[in-house]
């Protein structure tokens, strides 16, 4: 099999990169092991929430120059990052994903436990608040589905009440959910969403909510609507008539999965090949150290050839990186990784402090090239959280680095 570009990893970075290349006329394949970080999405993409020293950032683009030189934003260059950041909303819109928010100033999302976190672009059903302590209303009706434990109404009510919103918690009881409940492990977001997607079910839910509203001026719902199609979100808003806030649930994330499925569909619509449930087993190399072909588990000795390769295989959780008691390795190509040697320096004993290991990852050379044994691999590009040198969690820049490095890597390939 021969492609122009093979992308390893079907998460946010891999898909964005693939769509960009495919739309520019390249023939691409994505090899994906399965789930991605989008399946536990917060509902927002972050560009930059704080600097490595902990300083909170209100206007991310203005502080990019303060980032260390190994940070992927620095490798790309601040002006280029700003250009990409400006075009991303349109890019996503063209993929069928509506977002709100701007790169000029962070907005705020409401977390599943009621915390406020800086956000860049927010998926359509969620509200991005202009200020950290924006009030959602004077009186809120918090609605849950009976027996659904991954939507913590108490925590949410507590945080809204701190901002002066009076809260009332109610539960929806729907016969259609009873069947789910028969199996004790079924009351999870995606299963609920599958049932809710049927018009007679969500309609009934809206009727019940409407009958429970008294004088509330805000309704709070778990984001378990529209797994396949976001169209019902608007319909629900219209039918309720009162300002409706969908709040992200504990994983799995229905909006995140929908967005991932949307991107995958877009990639395939453009003619890309998405090999789901496959993993790369090995590679062979040209004399100059560049990659000639890869071998995957499903295709066995039918090798996959390409001019260029993009490694968007994620961090530890997605198996883009492997940690052994003796060190951190990149398991697909064995490329250079930046990590501390001693395990003592990987962790902080306090969970809530900054954890070093999250910043470990592949060394990104200029142009987001990977390197092996210190030598640049000219046809291997890095995108997303496989890249080392920055703490996406602490800095609040996971979504932004994934999208922007993916677009940049694609354009570097197109430039060749």
């Amino acid at each position: 099999m021969k492609f122009d570009t093979i992308i390893i990893g079907g998460g946010l970075a891999g898909l964005i990169c693939g769509i960009r290349l495919q739309k520019a006329g390249k023939k691409c394949a994505i090899v994906s092991a399965g789930q991605s970080a989008m399946h536990f999405s917060s509902g927002s993409f972050e560009l930059l929430g704080r600097l490595p020293d902990g300083t909170e950032t209100e206007r991310p683009l203005e502080v990019l120059k303060q980032l260390p030189k190994e940070h992927p934003y620095s490798v790309i260059g601040e002006e280029t990052v700003a250009e990409y950041a400006a075009m991303v909303p349109m890019f996503l819109e063209e993929c069928g994903i509506k977002v709100s928010g701007s790169a000029d100033k962070n907005s705020w999302r409401i977390s599943p436990t009621g915390e406020r976190k800086p956000a860049w672009l927010t998926l359509e059903e969620f509200v991005s608040l202009p200020d950290k302590d924006s009030k959602i209303g004077n009186k809120a009706l918090i609605v849950n589905i009976l027996g659904y434990l991954d939507f913590n109404t108490k925590f949410l009510a507590d945080s809204f009440e701190k901002q002066g919103t009076e809260c009332r918690i109610v539960s929806l009881k729907l016969d259609e959910m009873e069947r789910l409940r028969k199996n004790p492990s079924e009351m999870r977001s995606t299963n609920i969403a599958r049932v809710m997607d049927r018009e007679e079910v969500w309609s009934k839910a809206i009727d019940q909510i409407n009958s429970m509203i008294k004088d509330e001026d805000a309704i709070v719902l778990p984001a378990v609507f529209g797994l396949k199609d976001s169209a019902i979100i608007e319909k629900i808003r219209t039918r309720l008539g009162v300002k409706t806030y969908f709040i992200a649930t504990m994983p799995p994330s229905v909006p995140g999965i929908r967005a991932q499925m949307r991107l995958k569909a877009e990639f395939e619509k453009c003619g890309g090949y998405f090999f789901l449930g496959d993993t790369v087993k090995g590679a062979d190399y040209n004399e100059d150290g560049s990659i000639r072909s890869i071998e995957t588990a499903n295709f066995g000795n039918i090798r996959m050839y390409a001019d260029d390769f993009v490694l968007a295989s994620g961090s530890f959780f997605s198996k883009g990186l492997t940690a052994t008691p003796f060190g951190i390795i990149e398991p697909v190509f064995g490329i250079d990784v930046k990590a501390e040697d001693s395990r003592d320096n990987w962790f902080d004993r306090y969970f809530w402090n900054k954890q070093n290991y999250i910043s470990f990852g592949a060394v990104a050379k200029n142009g987001l090239h990977a390197s092996k044994d210190g030598k640049t691999v000219w046809n291997l590009f890095l995108a997303g959280s496989i890249i080392g040198g920055y703490n996406a969690l602490y800095e609040g820049c996971g979504g932004g680095t994934a999208i922007i490095t993916a677009l940049y890597a694609a354009d570097e390939i197109l430039k060749k």
Binding site: K117, G147, K154, M250, F316, P325, F351, W352
Partner: protein, 544 residues
């Protein structure tokens, strides 16, 4: 006894909610005494919950410590009878590896038999059929009646029975001082961590069952006990590699016991002296982890590629004999101190040393002494009367009787609570929904634990129900259970802080073994709680 007393007056006050204190409280209550049990944290937080969970046959001590071996086998047989729902009858193997001396085996078997422990030499091939995960290079094997015991369940069952017999149990109550009248201890002054109030309780006898912390309680009374904190580190693996306890047939050494327990298995232990100041904060070092793995792989080679869930360490309350303050001559047996004859302090006794296996006997000795002092003439019955949960039927019968179609969570509940499972509401679909998938803990079980089993926070809940003990280490169940606690305790702020403390407590056991899948799990937790939820640890009880 126990009549015409004021609310804060008791026959006996027991300090320490480990298995020794819980057992003593039960024994005293069964003998008709009005009992108060005080614990500064939760039940089973010290050495009780930080060991192998091995139902020793005594074989391990047969060669070196005949007395302990005899105590173990006797108690082993008693626990199988009175604590069935806490015990798993797995059997045990003592294997000899090529690097070990096979001659030791003969001496071992002879010593076992002398101590009354059944010990059958079996063919290595038969041993491998019995336990396929054992090292296939073994050159000798002996079968002994080892088993597994759940220390949390055992403690909880003792406390339930004490309460059923009128005992008062106060957790999160810390002894500030002992109330003295001349040379007599009259009671205790305690600080209630929940209400932040100081209270006084009176009794003619106070029993110090504080384990390693008993040294401090004795000090408050003006007595000196020379304790030598011995740290033992263990590793928990993500699933049951073995179904039979595997021991090394050699003189007791590091990491030579692999015990299956519930959904996991455990290798341990190391043994090292630690300074007294460190007993409240045990960290497992990288060297200890490496040693445990290196030795553990020799018992069951599969351990090398098995995911490690967490590492933890307990502190054995070893006591120096009175005539040897240097600590060279340390007793591993039961130590019962009557401070009246020893130090001239009346109304105060200490029960310490010993081990999980001999808790019932320790309780019996302590209660006998209490009764002698109170002139109560009633014989001990704890070797006969089953603990709550272990009465009558076996687990399958209880399960069938309680539910028409028992599912996994029903079976799990019966496994954890024995015949008390009938009190757990699981009839509606909501009550049967799972809070914790790894351990099949349902809404009904969590609610029962919160209402009936002195659960104040998520860590307590884990000890009663195994919520958060499985492979995901509390990833999503912690947040679900926190929601339920918020509702039950009507305090969201506390529940949220508690959630953050709980996650940190899980992390404490994970980072020493954080590579491979354990690191993947941790990274996921970080993204969920610090990222998606945006929690920062603010207000959590532990901060470094």
């Amino acid at each position: 006894m126990g009549h015409l007393k004021k609310d804060n007056e008791f026959d006996v006050i027991i300090v320490g909610g480990g298995i020794t204190g819980a057992g003593t409280a039960r024994d005293c209550a069964l003998r008709g005494l009005k009992v108060l049990l005080i614990e500064r944290h939760d039940l089973a937080t010290g050495a009780t919950g930080r060991n192998h969970g091995l139902l020793h046959s005594g074989a391990r001590y047969a060669v070196t410590d005949r007395e302990s071996a005899e105590e173990c086998i006797k108690e082993n047989m008693i626990l199988r009878k009175i604590a069935r729902h806490c015990v798993e009858e797995t059997e045990g193997l003592f294997i000899t590896l090529p690097e070990d001396d096979l001659e030791y085996q003969a001496k071992f078997v002879e010593s076992c038999l002398a101590a009354g422990i059944r010990a059958d030499v079996i063919d290595p091939k038969e041993a491998l059929l019995m336990e396929p995960s054992a090292n296939p290079d073994l050159i000798g094997a002996v079968k002994v009646p080892d088993g597994a015991v759940d220390p949390f369940r055992l403690t909880s069952a003792n406390v339930i029975d004490a309460k059923l017999h009128g005992a008062t149990v106060l957790v999160y109550h810390e002894v500030e001082s002992l109330i003295k009248d001349g040379d007599t201890i009259k009671g205790v002054k305690v600080f209630d961590h929940t209400t932040k109030q100081t209270k006084e309780y009176y009794a003619p006898i106070t029993v110090n069952a504080g384990g390693i912390w008993g040294q401090h309680i004795a000090q408050l009374a003006g007595a000196r006990i020379n304790m030598f904190p011995a740290k033992g580190a263990l590793l928990i693996f993500g699933h049951r590699v073995n179904n039979v306890v595997i021991n090394r047939c050699r003189k007791p050494a590091n990491a030579d016991i692999l015990v299956p327990g519930d959904t996991i298995c455990l290798i341990g232990t190391t043994s090292s002296r630690v300074p007294f100041e460190e007993v409240d904060n045990m960290y497992v070092t990288a060297d200890e982890v490496d040693l445990l793995l290196q030795e553990g792989e020799k018992l069951a080679p599969k351990l090398a590629s098995t995911r490690i869930l967490r590492a933890y360490a307990g502190v054995r309350p070893l006591v120096a004999t009175d005539d040897d303050p240097s600590g060279r001559n340390i007793s591993r047996g039961i130590v019962l101190l009557d401070h009246e004859t020893r130090d001239g302090i009346k109304g105060f006794i200490s029960i310490t040393g010993g081990k999980l296996m001999t808790y019932r006997l320790m309780a019996e000795w302590a209660t006998d002494l209490v009764c002698r002092k109170l002139n109560v003439d009633k014989a001990c019955e704890t070797m006969e009367i089953p603990l709550p949960g272990s009465e009558k039927e076996n687990i399958d019968e209880i399960s069938k009787k309680t539910w028409s179609k028992p599912g996994t969570p029903h079976k799990a509940v019966v496994g954890r609570h024995g015949n008390r499972a009938g009190q757990i509401s699981m009839s509606s679909e909501y009550d049967a929904s799972l809070v914790c998938e790894c351990e099949s803990a349902s809404v009904g079980e969590v609610r029962y634990a919160i209402e009936e089993l002195d659960v104040h926070n998520l860590v307590d809940l884990r000890r009663r129900t195994r919520v958060g003990m499985g492979t995901c280490q509390g990833e999503l169940c912690a947040c679900r259970a926190a929601g339920m606690l918020a509702e039950a305790h009507k305090c969201t702020e506390t529940a949220k802080q508690d959630l953050q403390s709980f996650i940190n407590e899980r992390w404490k056991g994970m980072y020493p073994v954080c590579w491979g899948d354990t690191l993947r799990e941790s990274e996921y937790s970080q993204w969920i709680y610090s990222g998606v939820c945006g929690l920062t640890g603010e207000g959590s009880t532990e901060k470094i």
